[in-house]
């Protein structure tokens, strides 16, 4: 048995966005508000963006690698008013229109729970037929569809199906419940889980195709999404990792889900790196699908400011961790930051554990890290709703910590935030917005030598589940492979 450790690296990362304005009504906040007052439907509908507007939106373009985060910082707000044309595919992934994403949902539906209307199936099939990541076998799974009358019947049945709409209100199908008496298999829960699966499948397929990876050579998949897959006897106990692997041709893989709210992906990267380092697996894929529940989360603030509802995209990520190739950025497993139980909840204590302690172990200072990737939520989404600029809050604390350690003087705090921080550009999609959105740009920079070190740090709101008052956090240092 070989007993030496392997050096793990980030071999590749890709992202996926689905423009899903028709699903905004099923975000948690809009759906709760709509159940109390159906009249707000008109206001929501009139503030939904076109696909072209979502494609051109600068934060989405940063997310998909069209433009660098530094470029975003130089674009004057409001970003949603930007007239710069965009394209579907960026260096790090694509943004798919809703007409096609509904087709992908059907393709990923293993239990015939999605029923699409027959004429819509043909429209979706025609569009998906030219998609480079979908096969004839995928298109066969679309079937022939159902008559509109059948969908109307399903939506009015005893275990009502959830009608599926396009942005402009056309009903194109429905999502059925899988069990009449099981809240864990209700139509809305299954829609949440299936969108998560389908978006992660597309991110993973993009990664496999563009990095020219053999799917059969992937032995293990870690899903870091937050969706609760399971039935009435084990709510949330299920596994999306293997379901995603199945749809990506990873015939030799198994996998497991790692949960940690927003810091799930960073935990998963640490686990993946450790498995590669210990030579348990030669490579491990880390995936995270979207969070349907977060669509339209801040829509009230957007309506109040008469701006478009910007939380209209579903986001996913796929990352491959593999053994050292001499080229890709290294994961420094000897410099992990952990927000421990005993650490306390003050921001100083949290950031001491996540930033200062791991750097000190390597004899480094805060200023030795070129870029910090923390909560990267787009402030244009959060500020109109009074939720502040989350990335800036976090970067100010890191800068304050550097000042406390006398690595910079207090007057340098704004400059540190500007140079070592990143403007927020990620959709508010839970775990997807925490640290990992920068990974595509980080890998590019660490490969071309413009960056030497990047720290990913993510925080998870464990208290939301009411089992502890604690939050969590995890950090990971990436280094140029020289």
């Amino acid at each position: 048995m070989i007993q030496t450790l392997e050096q793990p690296v980030i071999r590749g990362v890709r992202f996926f966005l689905a423009h899903a304005p028709g699903l905004v009504r099923y975000g948690s906040k809009p759906s709760r508000d709509l159940s109390r007052d159906a009249t707000i439907a008109a206001a929501i509908a009139s503030h939904l963006r076109t696909y072209e507007a979502a494609v051109a939106y600068p934060p989405n373009r940063v997310f998909l690698g069209h433009i660098h985060p530094d470029t975003l910082a130089s674009i004057s707000p409001p970003w949603f008013a930007s007239a710069a044309p965009g394209t579907r595919w960026g260096a790090h992934g694509e943004i798919m229109p809703e007409e096609e994403f509904y087709g992908v949902l059907k393709i990923c539906d293993a239990f015939d729970l999605v029923r699409l209307e027959a004429s819509f199936v043909e429209e979706s099939r025609a569009a998906l037929a030219v998609h480079p990541l979908l096969t004839p076998a995928d298109l066969e799974r679309l079937g022939t569809g159902f008559p509109e009358a059948d969908i109307a019947t399903q939506c009015g049945g005893s275990a009502p199906a959830l009608p599926l709409y396009l942005r402009h209100g056309r009903r194109i199908g429905c999502m059925q419940a899988a069990h009449a008496d099981d809240a864990s298999l209700a139509a809305d829960v299954l829609l949440e889980n299936l969108t998560c699966k389908a978006s992660a499948v597309m991110a993973m397929r993009t990664l496999l195709a563009q990095e020219q990876l053999d799917p059969v050579a992937i032995p293990y998949v870690l899903n870091s999404g937050e969706e609760a897959v399971g039935d009435r006897y084990q709510r949330g106990g299920g596994n999306l990792a293997k379901a995603i692997a199945e749809m990506c041709g990873c015939q030799a893989a198994t996998g497991v889900d790692i949960k940690g709210f927003c810091c799930g992906p960073v935990h998963a990267l640490v686990v993946a790196g450790s498995l590669v380092s210990a030579r348990v697996f030669s490579q491990v894929a880390v995936v995270g699908g979207c969070a349907l529940a977060k669509l339209g989360m801040k829509y009230r603030g957007h309506l109040q400011h008469d701006q478009p509802i910007l939380e209209d995209v579903l986001a996913a990520v796929a990352i491959l961790v593999s053994a050292d190739d001499g080229y890709s950025p290294r994961l420094r497993l000897d410099a992990l930051g952990r927000h421990t139980v005993a650490a306390g909840s003050s921001q100083k204590a949290i950031f001491e554990h996540l930033v200062s302690q791991p750097l000190t172990r390597l004899g480094l200072h805060c200023t030795d890290v070129d870029k910090y990737a923390t909560e990267l939520h787009n402030p244009e989404v959060t500020e109109p709703a009074g939720s502040g600029n989350v990335p800036q809050l976090n970067y100010r604390v890191i800068a304050g910590l550097a000042a406390m350690h006398k690595e910079i003087v207090p007057a340098q705090i704004p400059a540190f935030v500007a140079t070592d921080g990143r403007p927020g550009f990620a959709p508010t999609q839970g775990h997807i917005a925490s640290a990992v959105p920068y990974l595509g740009h980080a890998v590019d920079g660490l490969r071309d030598g413009s960056l030497q070190r990047v720290m990913l740090l993510a925080k998870g709101s464990l208290f939301l589940g009411r089992m502890t008052q604690l939050a969590d956090g995890m950090s990971l240092l990436l280094e140029r492979n020289a």
Binding site: C262, E375, T382, G388, V390, N394, S461, F463, A471
Partner: protein, 42 residues
């Protein structure tokens, strides 16, 4: 501000000051914390 003997509701934010940190400060100043909670706005 005199907190000795006062009842306190500690509402915190994950990316700002967390509820438990506010509660700890309030207790150390002699207040009774009747509710502490932390919100996440993203």
């Amino acid at each position: 501000m005199q907190l000795q003997g006062k009842k306190i509701i500690a509402l915190g934010e994950r990316d700002g000051v967390q509820g438990s940190a506010i509660a700890e400060c309030a207790r150390s100043a002699g207040a009774e914390v009747v509710l502490e909670t932390t919100y996440c706005f993203v």
